[in-house]
Assembly symmetry: C4
Homo-oligomer: 271 residues x 4
């Protein structure tokens, strides 16, 4: 089926922008990665009072440069993609749009507080980086392992939450408002900070009973970390095992040893 | 065996309330889950001084609504269950009773401090959530792994406790009361907070020797976490291995691959 | 070989005191465990100023009771053991002696500060608990796994120490004395507290560069914990694998599957 | 090929200095290890104001003693090594040079602040210790496991960084400058400190929403640690498995049990 030169050029651009198999596509992705990183750094720097005061103009210029580049890229994507509407409504399509909109909105809504939130929205550009994750192999297996262990992880988190609720409530009764445990929600916040071994120290027990309970909670959190680790490790080992076994080309069963010459079910030779 | 319509209806209700296999039973469980969650949130909110002051009346109304609903559920359970007394004396039966009693007690004992403790007792409703855990598969294997490793876990905790006792005592001698280490129990509390890498910072070493000991203790706690994790992971792997192998129905040997059609020892077909 | 009744009685006592296989021996061990625990709690309580002031006399009485009981037990051990001198010079023999000496020494050296150290020495009784560990199976495998991984663990700790030394030195240069990093040892102490994710917060970075380095150090410590865990887990799995395989009764090779009927090397039937 | 006595002597020295197989070479390495350790301790002590004031002269003498010894060792290495230039430009050659230069530079640049940085450079001697790591077996496997898992580790760190950036930005919006979250970079620093469960407590949330987000972030960091641990453990298990299996000398298949005498595929005797 002969294609028109225009459609052919469009297809080549699509490959560069959306795929990463060709050298040009890979270069495009890496350039974009740097641009996104730099623009995120700019938004971060802008939030530092001293930097905003001294470098307001270069930052504004950089912001407009990034915005124009990202807008051009967004329009280009809409042009070359096969289903423009589907892309525009996809997760990354919305992120791509949201990452340029705030700068344009800033011209129309020059309020201070609203401006802050809108400006920070530009940080969403960061999520565009995750489009590159698909290039890294191994990431997919992690996601599969987490997905396979989701039931156990849910039970684990319910358990952690229940311990936090009980401990936080107990500490509210034991230590009371004068110890910083001013309400049950505050106690639960403290219990989460303690059981995860985070330990800010903004609220700390002072009564002997409170300290005993804290010790028990800390040891629980310390030992219980073994649970998600054990779950994920055994899940990863299982997947790892699946990976090394090849399917029989004639009947499709898995689980052959790496050096098997004949299928253990149907006897067909393994390639 | 023909059953009377009344007994039949009772059996249907029992299935809805106590089982989760039928769609109605599942819906009942999910509705209950939401009610319990909301009632726990209400008790938590009530403990926040600002909320209690401004929303005292809606919270009281919600509390009575929850209490009446849970009371109705408790009476219903007693009616439809086959052995009412056995249910009433079971763990969940007691929890179910304790989660409605406090509200009724509040009418008779309107004291302030006692009220606080009684009110907080309503948090026990939370434990009723664990009745739902049985629906999640994978939870049972975790419990079995923890049970299988209980001897090793006990040794590990004794070891941690011994290190904490020794370190806490040493720090009490090294740092002394002026450094915040006012007694051996305080030192032990500090040692537990340190070895679990919690690190509140309410008591910290100031002498060079104390800081050296702290560094050693911190590194110990950091590395020793590998022990419970290693124990549980190898225990889970063992169970995982047991799970994938089925016993032969005729000779009983284990260790067949999941897709084996014939026993690898006696040749009998696997079901 | 006929034994004299006296030697026979002595042997029976030796079994009760030193072994734990007979019911009497087990009861003796458990009673001793409780006594040691209680005596340690007494020493801990005595260090609390409020308790020492109010309960000085009961604590002194308890102390003398424990000392007399432990002295009697020490003399009994010396009498019934086969090689009294070897026991007296063994680790547990010295601990047993050290746990009663301080109370007697207190009569001769009634100084305040010296008294404190001597009194605390009684905490050494705690180590006697570890004699009981041998009853718990699984403990030995842990020790073997740790021993098998000792080379890797040494490398890991050298690596952690090197990172701490470098980070602590860098922070001393970056933050300087005004930020709390008053010397390189202080910086190294801070680095150990940070890399182990302990985070007391007694010394914290304030400069942007210091905070960047802290973030890198924290992420390193967070991820590097995987190393000791991975080492120990794979070591435990290896030992676990050895455990499930039985040795051939005629040639002694290991590694048979659990249901093997014949030795895979010499063909002798497995019992 | 006869060698001249001079070349022979040089070769013997080379073995002592660069290798560790001979007893003399091992003794040389251990002596050097102690010297490096002591010199690092001296630099650390010198940074403590109280020590520098009281022991300035002995520290200076020790510093010159170490410098002369290390200079002699550096010259010796250059003399006995086969390719002096290649050694001088290697990583350890540069470290060896950098660890003696600062003391000589101190004579020419007696400035205070510059002196501090130069003096601290002597800490680089520490890296020379890693030359000894090659003696420890097991270290190489760790490095191979980390190398094998590098793609997954990169994805994991990108993920952690993305969560930190998002959470830090959100906290900057929620808590604002009055809560200590003065800019997005500060918020990101706080998020890293929180997600790694470090928790200094220098910046802590005070609003209910901020505390809720903190709890979520802490639980995420607590559970997500399972990911690098799981990755490394399964990687180590894989390598461990490769290690125990030898290839058949005639057909090359892997996966033999450690005591196999015949190849399980071609029947050729295993060496």
């Amino acid at each position: 089926m002969p294609e028109s030169p225009r459609s052919d050029r469009r297809e080549r651009w699509r490959e560069i922008i959306f795929e990463a198999e060709t050298p040009a596509g890979r270069r495009f992705d890496i350039a974009l990665l740097w641009l996104i990183g730099l623009s995120v750094v700019c938004v971060m720097l802008e939030s530092v009072p001293a930097v905003r005061r001294d470098y307001a103009e270069p930052l504004l210029a950089a912001e407009w440069a990034f915005t124009i580049l990202f807008t051009a890229e967004y329009i280009l994507r809409l042009c070359v993609v096969r289903h423009p509407l589907r892309y525009a409504r996809s997760f990354y399509g919305i992120i791509d749009l949201l990452s340029v909109l705030p700068t344009y909105l800033m011209m129309f809504f020059p309020g201070t507080q609203a401006l802050l939130v809108i400006r920070v929205l530009r940080m969403l550009r960061m999520f565009r980086v995750f489009k590159m994750v698909r290039h890294v192999n191994g990431a997919e297996m992690l996601v599969r392992a987490l997905y396979g262990a989701r039931a156990k992880i849910t039970v684990f988190f319910s358990f952690m939450l229940a311990i936090s609720l009980v401990s936080g409530t107990l500490m509210y009764l034991i230590e009371g408002p004068q110890g910083g445990f001013s309400s049950i929600p505050t106690g639960v916040y403290w219990a989460v900070v303690t059981i995860t071994t985070l330990g800010f120290g903004d609220i700390t027990p002072v009564t002997p009973l409170g300290r005993l309970l804290t010790s028990v909670l800390a040891l629980t959190g310390y030992a219980v970390i073994a649970v998600p680790t054990g779950i994920l490790t055994s899940e990863l080992s299982k997947l790892e095992g699946d990976d090394t076994s090849d399917a029989c080309p004639s009947c499709g069963v898995h689980g052959h040893l790496p050096d098997a010459r004949f299928c253990r079910r149907c006897g067909a030779p393994m390639s």
